[in-house]
């Protein structure tokens, strides 16, 4: 029999002790989880992903912002995941988005897609469906007419992965 169950039958101080221990355990577990989550969010990007981003930026600094990346936070099926990238831009001749790229952290290849667009688009928003091999971060990057680069990173949890299953 489990020690918890055995102790729970006791009356008086023994029972109080068990409750405290349980609560303590929960607190410890939650603290651990929170610490973990924070570490993931703050973890530096792997070298190959950082290199792919640097290649896209072509020497320009990459700043957070102006890009929104719309993808489910919890994905049941990694084989086809709708993803949409929108960039805050007036899309005029003088100021428009010239390229949007999508990268991933843990698929076999870092690149997902490169898109080229121009001022005739009128709206800098691109949607597609991607594969996710496992829980990982997805990075969207946009390059503006002036060469500046903007990014947005989103963490996605995948329960059924793409790529691993065999042919049916």
């Amino acid at each position: 029999m489990l020690p918890f169950t055995a102790a729970a039958h006791n009356q008086g101080p023994g029972r109080t002790l068990v409750s405290l221990e349980r609560r303590h355990l929960v607190v410890v577990a939650m603290t651990g989880w929170l610490a973990c989550a924070r570490q993931v969010a703050a973890a530096p990007l792997p070298d190959d992903l950082a290199a792919a981003i640097a290649a896209f930026a072509d020497g320009m600094p990459v700043r957070e912002g102006r890009v929104s990346l719309d993808i489910a936070e919890l994905v049941d099926n990694g084989n086809t995941v709708p993803v949409s990238v929108a960039v805050d831009s007036p899309m005029t001749e003088a100021d428009h988005v010239t390229a949007i790229s999508l990268f991933n952290e843990r698929n076999p290849q870092r690149e997902v897609a490169h898109f080229v667009l121009g001022p005739s688009a009128g709206l800098a928003r691109v949607s597609t469906r991607m594969r996710l091999a496992t829980t990982q971060r997805v990075v969207a990057l946009a390059r503006m007419r002036d060469g500046s680069c903007w990014s947005r990173t989103v963490e996605v949890i995948v329960t059924l992965a793409a790529c691993v299953e065999s042919e049916l």
Binding site: V81, L102, P108, A113, S120, T128, R129, R131, A162
Partner: protein, 103 residues
Amino acid sequence: MPAQPRRGDVIEIRAMIAHPMETGYRAGSDGQLLAHDLIRWFNCSLDSGNGKELVFSAQLFPAIAANPYLAFHLRANKEGTLHFSWEGDHSFRHTETAPLRVV
């Protein structure tokens, strides 16, 4: 895409093609890796009478799901013909056209 947008409207164009997008990372029933078979390039341009003008292009990688779906936008300033093309492994090439009429 919308049938008849007004001049100056921003329209959404959605393109999808039936294709397995075999990644080359997946094992077949015999345990051997299946050879990759991918669409690598998509291109959409508008021919409004005086040459083609790029609307949107995409380079696709194995991380794009099977039956590649792409949605993008165009400000409907000019009438013409939209040309869509998909190119990939094993000399795969497919083209489509769609008229763009504005009112």
